[in-house]
Symmetry: D2
Subunit: 449 residues, 4 copies
């Protein structure tokens, strides 16, 4: 039994902060949250003194990619992708993100790390995983790093297979019923935690295109629900977003991105009325300004256009239910310098997809875009848990929930920068030794050469 | 008044051939088709002696591209695209194709040549035109010849605009209602004869992807029909084909192509039951064999796979209503040698898309695939006219119809090679001076260097 | 007869400025340069009042490219390259450059404009031309804009031939004697004014490579000299520079560029001792700083590295004989925006190759690098004339020389920025109507879209 | 002690074959070669019965690449390149090639395998190695597989360094003296057996270009000779070949290749008069014919043009001293199918660079080109040994030499195809268990998928 005492608890339910609170943690669960005045401090409890501090639920990122590696590193790390995945989950945990939803990655190593962390064999953020994005290919396919003629087909197949798991690009050629069968097999056998499919193309030149017909999308959603899994779609256009919604998806993944046309009011109303969770990659004004000055044509006109930024503002103004979403990955020295990556990010500030950093920016950005500070906190905690059907376990500091807490030196509702003032992180009732993370820095190790 | 006497008339209605027939032509129309025995030869008629020959309706190609030019020639011929278009229409007329449907090209020069030919100012096949494929870009867009960084945006825009006419790639970003408005303006103002839209991507790497949602496709079809135009879609996959059919399209453009999966029986049954016209690019066995031996990976596995060939066989076996379709363009010396083209066709025989030649191969190929010779003839005449709503004017040798005839030395029903034995071509009642075509050989001129 | 009175004449001989001077111009020649006090003002002379102003010789640019067009414009302007060439020669004249040496361009149109200007049929800087760089290909060859598979070989040949003139890339395969024959024919028949050959490769990836063996280089130099022409080589490395010098070239074209290794002291001493003219592209500190911040890897490490900048500083410190050299071309709106060009120059300031502007920057840059102001002026006037064997006609304001003058509002020796304060330009004794230039703005016209 | 009895010995000296011969082998050396009639069969000798067979010296390939791997395999096999190298050396040994000269490869693993084989720790052809080609980069440099932006600079550097060893592309920027220093360090410290440098570029687009000036080439040759090593140059043009010869190189590597111009008679005479060894990649008529029919433009016009084939014919006619040269590498299933390789070889027969096979084709090809059968045998044995300064040890069956023998079922002088009729291979006096080679088939393993 542990007690966190003296702090102001913002419990993630939206209720007013509780000052001078006592959080009693029993094993991996919260037993109670009370005012100190109410009295009951358990005997022999280990005391965590949070006097003058702020206690919030562990943050939850609705969209990360723990394993993003360019072609050479895919080969260099082959057989041990669990290493960068574990490092990534430690980088997030250190920064107060106790739970992450991985929305595209290699199935087996992700499962391995997820399970190692669940069983306490490794330290890291709690992982939920989707495996592949149904309908897209692996990292060495045309959807991500088309390899030209430098890599052999056997190499491509061997690597891509670890991502695709039978639900790759070839599904786009099939009938709804054939896709349904493939998805059923996948959700039954893969051990994934939720389903993500592509409703539009992934490469920038294919974002205007649709992947699956409405009938097929419904089949995918039905199969996910049949297996008790939430389902989300990758969408990048006005129509693919509408199709996803009509197909019955539970979460709109980067649903704020509608390419060259703004989100129609009808769709926006729909989202608001149904309280559909939108995993929106909201960016800071500083980032938008740097894109304007230094971004490539593609960045400026499509990927991070004013249209998208306006969509975010409209969503927030209308009270849509946003989820903390970084699309983050390990942006360490080797990846930063990689020619396939460096050019896109040259001169840009406040990179919105950098694990361990970008969730701070997101919280800042949504408030910049008009969201109330308390709503911002809910977007990064309770809302994500609810959207993914994990509200019974995660997202708030309430009796019976998992004891995932972040202790801050300063009030996050007063200034979003205070999310950075982390004094401690507790996950499953255990205080994290943040200074020791990541255990084996590799991707994030600063090289000396 | 002219009379074509002594020949065996296969009138394109499917009726038995009329031996020793007399076709009376009055002006640009057929006045009567009778047996010689029945007697009435008009006085003072110009006699065309077809004794021992075969008289069939002028052939109609449901899908040609009179203006296909690679990037350098697009610039070299800028301002005078009418020249290669006119040449192309003469190459087809010479070979017995009295009517062609151009399904993608530059609007203004196509209209110019169409009208010049209609008014008798130029000789050539009768042209019906669609202008752009709604949803695709011009020739220097990513859909056709992506120009890398060799050409400036101003050049691309200037050229592509001549094709796109406000209904290009950017429509894929819009809502159904916005697309509807753009299409309405296009059909009202462009002077096109029929509508073609893209239901799937065009580049080989995008053929698995869908362009427009079902709702948008219905909007496009409605606008076409509202303007009294037939409508067809470019489809390249099982689902895009189904979506086109459900949207209510009148003609299935290369509906035999379903990529990496065979046409579902359900779709096939649908096509057969509703007698939906399929513009299928059926290829000869010799072509298929050469693809097998010398074709690129892409040719063999996607573009001209056994799956497509089987689809053709199944369509014919089930009695689907096929239309002569070559997708033909001028394949003269300069284009044959062009690096963007040559590599794809190296070593292949019976090229299925060569204007002036490929319709012969198509007629041969459908019979090879099991079609009855009379049905083959109907597929190249009456069926196309009916599919495009032109049956009152074209497609058969019947009183009141336009006098478009081909006179053959040998029986086309006995051997499809006999379509090549052209003794004469009459269009609108006028005998064509075939030896003089094309009037100004340029694209098709054999160079001496 | 005209007289320029009242100004301070800096005559380009290196002599002290003559205050209150009278320059008498008779026809296209200078008749005399005297102090006003000395008296002899001709009767009926047209008076150009330069009171309080500075009169310097017309500037001479040792290296320009009047016709640089990316692939699409090469096709768009085919048959009328004289237009952009004439425009370019007017842009330079307006800016005080009365003579330019074109070191790579299409032979026939360059000759046409050169001769039109010589005969007074067109206004523009006096042109001397080299035609092709012997050993390099035309603009659509691998040396400049390798066209991938977008352009046909016939197009490439047709365009490139206008540059190559029988002395293109294929010379690199030949023996010294075969090269000699080809060069002899070229210098005898082409009507060029001087010879330029490639001693090293041109593309950035080939700059470390050598084109011609020493024996071949000597053969080229001999043939040029045999025809009475000066000869220069394109060099980009330590060894190609040494080879050029040993082969006997008269001018070292961008001899300051030695790639990844600094110019050896031995070579530098050689250059200084023999007073070999170096056409060095000296850049301003502002440009170098912007390269450091925003330039591509290639720009920073190879094309405009600190090594090159140090070479310039060393050359100047040691008193090498530099020539005003911009390598300039028309950098108008269309070319600036062209994708093959824009990326390289994004974010860079003081572009060193912009006709009409860059000679001002060069004069500023050499002084920044330590050159005495008077030497800077000589580098842009007399030295160039001498290097090219034109000292009898050009480069100074002396009796008998062509009357090429620039009248400045402020003293160029006091501040190099004063070269911009142009009050008037006289060429061949005629005052230029600068406001009317270019006569037909096209490349340099600012578009309104 | 072993005796090979009963066979016809063609001893590689050019002497007439010795029928019914006895070769006595003592340890790893030949003790005597006599006619059986002469009598002296040692007691207790192990008898190898060669009755009716032919005994020739072990073949020697003057140019192989034991380690050629495309980018993905370079990464997959990183840290264990010795494996494919050892496999390659076993593939050659099995086919009768007892000694190979590796002319470009990763230094350390090549040395490892060379030494393992020398010490008897591994079976394989005797290896002599050059390490890097001085002046060229590693496999992931622009000289071989330019990696675009798929691989990071750190990966490129890490891999390329294993080849370059301080004598890579950057040498092209340096002065002769700086190159000399780098080469001196390399030959002193690397443990290489002979020196190879680039006299011309390697990529097809750079073959017309020269790498090092004559002065630098002399410096390289001097340093090699100073260290007691033979030296050869990679040349691909008329002038680079002449420069290599004048620099004093000992072997002309693919000296028969002169690109788009034939070898000048002067050079040919030089080669013949000085008996300079030419490592010529002579190809069969069947190969040449298949190139003509199916080869790419590049293959037909540059790499395997008629010019090169004529050079070979002229060299042989004039009696030049050719060396067996395959440029061979392991062309197993994975490499054959690799997209960077497959396209170049599609449809070609008698691939001239396939280890274990191509030396047979070479022997056939030189005789097809007019060489006397006995000279062909010398070209593949004694001549190579002499050219590389190994004549005291290798190349003939003579007392005191290493006992490297190939026993053939049929007479190789009667028909070159008989080189394939291998009954046995002895190396260093040990009979090779050919059936067991390669010991661990990997690159050459036929996959079952």
């Amino acid at each position: 039994v542990k007690v966190v005492t003296g702090g102001t608890v913002i419990d993630g339910t939206g209720a007013a902060p509780i000052t001078d609170a006592v959080v009693v943690v029993d094993g991996d669960r919260v037993r109670s949250v009370t005012r100190a005045a109410e009295g009951v401090l358990p005997q022999d409890a280990e005391v965590v003194d949070a006097t003058g501090r702020y206690v919030i639920p562990g943050l939850i990122d609705a969209n990360v990619h723990l394993c993003v590696l360019p072609p050479d590193l895919l080969l260099e790390y082959e057989g041990r992708y669990a290493e960068p995945i574990e490092e990534a989950a430690q980088v997030t945990l250190r920064a107060g993100v106790t739970t992450v939803f991985d929305t595209w990655g290699p199935l087996e190593p992700l499962r391995t790390v997820r399970d190692r962390i669940r069983r306490g064999q490794a330290v890291g953020s709690r992982i939920f995983l989707a495996g592949n994005i149904i309908g897209l290919g692996g990292p060495l396919s045309s959807d991500f790093w088309p390899p030209g003629d430098l890599l052999g087909q056997d190499t491509l197949d061997r690597i891509n297979r670890q991502w695709e798991q039978g639900v790759g690009q070839d599904l786009l050629w099939l009938t709804p019923e054939d896709v349904r069968r493939r998805v059923r097999t996948y959700v039954e056998r893969s051990g994934i935690d939720f389903v993500k499919y592509a409703a539009s193309g992934h490469k920038s030149s294919e974002m205007r295109l649709i992947t699956f017909s409405e009938r097929t999308q419904r089949a995918i959603v039905e199969e996910a629900h049949r297996a008790g899994l939430t389902v989300q779609a990758h969408t990048t256009s006005v129509e693919s977003l509408r199709m996803e919604i009509e197909a019955g998806a539970d979460i709109l993944q980067h649903g704020d991105f509608t390419g060259l046309a703004p989100m129609p009011d009808e769709t926006l109303t729909h989202i608001v009325d149904r309280a559909l969770p939108v995993a929106a990659i909201v960016c800071t004004a500083r980032f938008q300004a740097s894109v304007e000055r230094h971004g490539s044509e593609l960045m400026r006109t499509l990927l991070h256009s004013k249209i998208k930024d306006d969509n975010d503002r409209r969503l927030i103004e209308r009270g849509a239910r946003l989820l903390l979403t970084t699309d983050g990955w390990l942006f360490g020295p080797r990846l930063r310098a990689h020619p396939s990556i460096a050019a896109n990010w040259k001169g840009l500030e406040d990179h919105p997809s950098r694990l361990g950093e970008s969730h701070f920016l997101w919280l800042q950005a949504v408030v910049e875009h008009g969201m109330a500070p308390m709503d911002a906190l809910l977007s990064a905690t309770r809302n994500v848990a609810e959207a993914y059907g994990q509200a019974a376990e995660l997202g708030t500091i309430e009796p019976g929930k998992r004891a995932d807490l972040v202790i801050l030196d300063a009030d996050p509702l007063a200034d979003t920068r205070n999310y950075r003032s982390i004094a401690g992180v507790m996950k499953d009732g255990v205080l994290v030794d943040r200074g020791a993370l990541p255990v084996r820095p590799d991707m994030t190790a600063e090289t000396t050469t």
